[in-house]
């Protein structure tokens, strides 16, 4: 094989190594390692301190109950990287859950059902509304997210204001549409998505957890490997620079908010399937958990920084914290305070990391760890 000899250019092997190192770094940057260690410490502490933490039932419960928070947080991560924020996540989850439940709820007989039933009978898949419900939930989420995007990118509203409005509007529709009563009697196949398990190597893993893990891979590829991911990072890094380089800023914003809505809608649908009932108050206040997961996971308030893996770990930390407080016998009423402290600590840590002195210290620390690992290996 003849290779063109280009002086001063990296050899193929070197450039491959450099690329893979960078690839690794882009997934697990400084803060992720930090929060991952925090998560591990919490897990270890709880497994020594309590008998119940490491039971497979408890692990299953934990991963199940943060899965929809994490899925919604993946979308929120995109928005926060663009230096925006989406406060409407909780309401969008709630309304999307209602939209999904509407089509399969036994005590509702919507006109749409007739249409769909007829269509489905023609296709010979009678009685299965699960895809319809999933589609309806996701579509509702994406629609609301796109509205946010239009308000922010075209009407030039600050993201905080636009999504604050949407938070209230979507919640209002939840109450108005249901007249305050939940949609009940959801069909079994639909509930199966939220309550059933997938058997993997002898372990039963809940479907929402599986979907969350699949999504973290897809979203990581989306964010670090596609041109859209590059554009989202560019927008958050320097909006003016991105615009002058020929990036369509509005399109990118619309994309980020629409995907945030879509993922919130999907998360809301899974949550509804898990609970087996779609209440108008569902997911009330979840936006705080979702936003907290993103920030704990290392995203920057100023935009331009954040990863999907970090967000996943952030969501896990909050749920382990909740579960741990429970198992240790603390009154659940104290949980919000604990979560609040965690958020504040995470942001303080992030700011400290940005000061040059702390950064130099961490660099030395990590450099030493790397060196000792190299000598050991």
């Amino acid at each position: 094989m003849t290779e063109k000899a280009v002086p001063e250019q990296l050899s193929r092997r070197e450039s491959f190594e450099a690329a893979s190192r960078k690839w690794g770094r882009s997934i697990i940057s400084g803060q992720e390692i930090g929060v991952f260690i925090v998560l591990m410490v919490m897990v270890l502490y709880l497994s020594f301190k309590t008998d119940t933490f490491t039971t497979s039932q408890n692990i299953r419960n934990i991963t199940l109950s943060f899965s929809w928070i994490a899925i919604a947080a993946f979308g929120q991560t995109l928005v926060i990287i663009t230096a925006g924020i989406d406060l409407s996540t909780g309401s969008v989850m709630g309304l999307s859950g209602l939209a999904a439940a509407y089509f399969i709820s036994g005590d509702k007989s919507p006109w749409a059902e007739e249409v769909i039933r007829n269509g489905r009978e023609a296709l010979g898949v009678d009685g299965q509304y699960v895809p319809v419900a999933l589609l309806a939930g996701c579509a509702m989420g994406m629609f609301l997210g796109a509205l946010n995007g239009v308000l922010i990118a075209w009407a030039n509203l600050p993201p905080f204001i636009a999504t604050l409005g949407m938070m209230s509007v979507a919640r209002g529709f939840c109450y108005g549409w249901t007249e305050g009563w939940p949609f009940r009697q959801l069909n079994d196949e639909f509930r199966e998505i939220g309550q059933g398990d997938l058997a993997v190597l002898g372990y039963d893993i809940p479907y929402p957890t599986v979907l969350m893990l699949v999504l973290v891979v897809i979203m990581t590829i989306f964010l670090t490997r596609t041109i859209w991911g590059y554009r989202i990072y560019a927008l958050g890094g320097n909006e003016q620079a991105a615009e002058l380089s020929g990036i369509n800023i509005r399109q990118v914003k619309l994309l980020a908010y629409s995907l945030a809505g879509l993922l919130a809608g999907f998360g809301g649908t899974l949550m509804t399937a898990r609970l087996g009932v779609a209440a108008p108050t569902a997911a009330n206040g979840y936006e705080l958990d979702v936003i907290a997961a993103v920030f704990i996971g290392g995203a920057s308030v100023k935009g331009g920084k954040g990863t999907m893996v970090g967000t996943l770990i952030g969501a896990a930390i909050m749920q382990v914290l909740r579960n741990g407080l429970n198992l240790l016998g603390y009154d659940p009423y104290w949980q919000p305070a604990a979560i609040g402290f965690t958020i504040i600590l995470a942001i303080m840590f992030d700011q400290a990391r940005q000061s040059p002195q702390v950064a130099a210290f961490l660099h030395r620390l990590l450099g030493r760890a790397e060196a000792s690992m190299r000598s050991a290996g």
Binding site: E8, Q9, L10, S15, F16, A18, A19, K22, W23, I221, R225, T226, I227, W228, Y230, R231, Y233, A234, G236, G237, N238, Q240, A241, A242, E243, L244, S245, G246, I247, G304, K305, P356, Q357, A360
Partner: protein, 518 residues
């Protein structure tokens, strides 16, 4: 080839009007392939407007643009780039959180084709290889995979030039590319420009440092009040002729230094250290003295001033004001002790752009004019008006938003704001950067006036002629340390450069040892 060359870019009778001002009036402009053209003029002469029209950021009212003989009508910056006109702005258009390669190929990343095409996946390795090639052309020693936030200003600029090459630009517009660079970085930039010229690219170069135009440019086009007033051959003209054209009147000298009586020591700094930033900095400043600080960008000059002013804490060292040792822990304390700081970054750190001239001037004086928290508005206003007049700030009214003033007048507002406090020591960081010649000489004469009143002035400047002409003594810094303190009479450009670049150091006994290569 004896053929008369066609201009690659030609502008014919372009006019642009903004509310209340005719920014450009029937301007013709042309650039030939492989030519470096300097576009000069005072602030407000229409340079920026013309450049923005070429870059697609503004639309002309009348007139025609031709690229390679074809008429073009760029509607956006992206379209202009596509046509082959790239602009490098003073504020770089880079994203700090992304890699060098991602920046160079921003919005035009190479992607996988075939069945992968709908996923729009970026070919990261190919992108980095291509980026490396462009970086080699520019001569930049940065890795394509490095994050931009870890690069120096000069390196960022090289990335910006590589980015222009990535869009296959035929014409590159550089808006004051040297204003943020030290002298040796400027030299390197000129090498890059010469290199690009040899490759047949055309470069339009805007600068306020007139001596630079003789180094790299072929032709000089001068604008005044929105009109083209002259074209000069760079090889057959001098600074005086350019200035004459720019201002339309004869300026005797750009740097009119008047000497003040130098008195007692007012500020004494000894052994000032902030770990990793500055190391053992000592100097004295006397009443009526202008003490110049020379050095390369990053030599620690601004950092020294931040420590003295209490904006950054010190790890070691002592500061005396009028013989009394002081411990300055915050800028507020520094102001109380009679120190003033005119920061380098006028628009971000010196002014609140959205506020009026009056409010900006009142900010540091709020305490002085307040009684129990209640503002003496009339007194403050009278005093502010007085200073606006003394400094001849050209503003329609005291209520004018500072944002709308020219760079020179903004700088005067900053100065006026500090003078209202009657400081004993005024630290000025790059006081004339990005200011046109006329306003520059006004600022210089203001500095001399202040010195005559006994104020001690510290002036940081990266412009060598300015430092040499205006300073009574010159402190040269190199890598966070004082490399030398020279008297004006002893200072030559070569000596300052030698110290600033670490080519010469102070001997062990304090004597100067020159030519010692470190």
């Amino acid at each position: 080839m004896a053929l008369e060359q066609e201009p690659i870019l030609r502008v014919e009778k372009v006019s642009k009007r903004f509310p209340g001002v005719q920014a450009l009036k029937d301007v013709d402009f042309e650039v030939y392939p492989g030519e470096v053209v300097a576009l000069l003029g005072e602030n407000g002469a229409g340079k920026s407007t013309l450049m923005k029209i070429l870059a697609g950021a503004y639309h002309k009212d009348v007139g025609t643009l031709f690229l390679r003989g074809q008429e073009i009508q760029p509607q956006s910056t992206a379209e202009s780039q596509q046509l082959g006109i790239a602009t490098i702005y003073q504020e770089f258009t880079l994203t700090l959180n992304q890699t060098v390669a991602a920046n160079i190929f921003m919005a035009r990343e190479p992607r996988y084709g075939g069945i992968l095409a709908p996923f729009q996946l970026v070919k990261i390795r190919q992108m980095e290889r291509d980026a490396q090639e462009l970086l080699d052309v520019v001569g930049a020693r940065v890795l394509p995979g490095a994050l931009v936030e870890n690069l120096s200003v000069a390196e960022r600029q090289q990335v910006e030039i590589a980015k222009a090459l990535a869009v296959d630009a035929q014409v590159i517009i550089m808006d004051e590319p040297t204003s943020a660079l030290g002298s040796d970085e400027t030299e390197k930039l000129f090498d890059i420009i010469r290199n690009l010229r040899e490759r047949g690219l055309s470069i339009i170069f805007i600068t306020h440092r007139l001596e630079e135009v003789f180094e790299v440019t072929d032709r000089i086009i001068v604008l005044r009040d929105g009109e083209r007033v002259g074209t000069l051959d760079a090889a057959r003209t001098d600074v005086d002729e350019i200035i004459h054209l720019m201002v339309g009147r004869e300026l005797k000298s750009i740097f009119a230094k008047e000497y003040a009586d130098i008195g007692e020591t007012i500020l004494k700094v000894e052994g000032l250290t902030r770990r990793g930033v500055i190391e053992d900095v000592s100097f004295e400043l006397r009443h009526g003295e202008i003490l110049g600080f020379a050095g390369l960008v990053g030599a620690g000059r601004t950092e020294t001033m931040n420590v003295i002013f209490g904006a950054d804490h010190k790890d070691a060292g002592h500061i005396w004001i009028k013989g009394e040792e002081v411990n300055i822990t915050s800028p507020e304390k520094a102001v109380e002790l009679g120190l003033g700081l005119v920061p380098e970054d006028r628009t971000n750190r010196g002014l609140v752009l959205e506020l009026s001239v009056l409010l900006n001037m009142m900010l540091p004086t709020l305490k002085k004019f307040a009684r129990f928290g209640w503002m003496d508005r009339r007194g403050a206003r009278r005093s502010a008006e007085d200073y606006v007049e003394r400094l001849s700030v050209r503003t329609p009214s005291m209520e004018q938003t500072v944002k709308n003033l020219s760079g020179g007048n903004q700088q005067k507002v900053v100065l006026a704001k500090w003078l209202m406090l009657n400081p004993q020591v005024l630290i000025m960081d790059e006081p004339t950067r990005g200011i046109d010649v006329g306003a520059k000489s006004e600022i210089h004469s203001l500095m001399c006036d202040m010195a005559k009143q006994g104020i001690g002035i510290i002036m940081i400047s990266s412009e060598m002629p300015e430092v040499m002409a205006m300073s009574d003594r010159i402190v040269v810094m190199h890598e966070g340390r004082v490399a030398a303190i020279l008297d004006q009479a002893d200072a030559t450009q070569e000596r300052i450069m030698a110290y600033a670049s670490g080519q010469a150091t102070l001997g062990a006994n304090g004597n100067l040892k020159e030519g010692q290569v470190v």
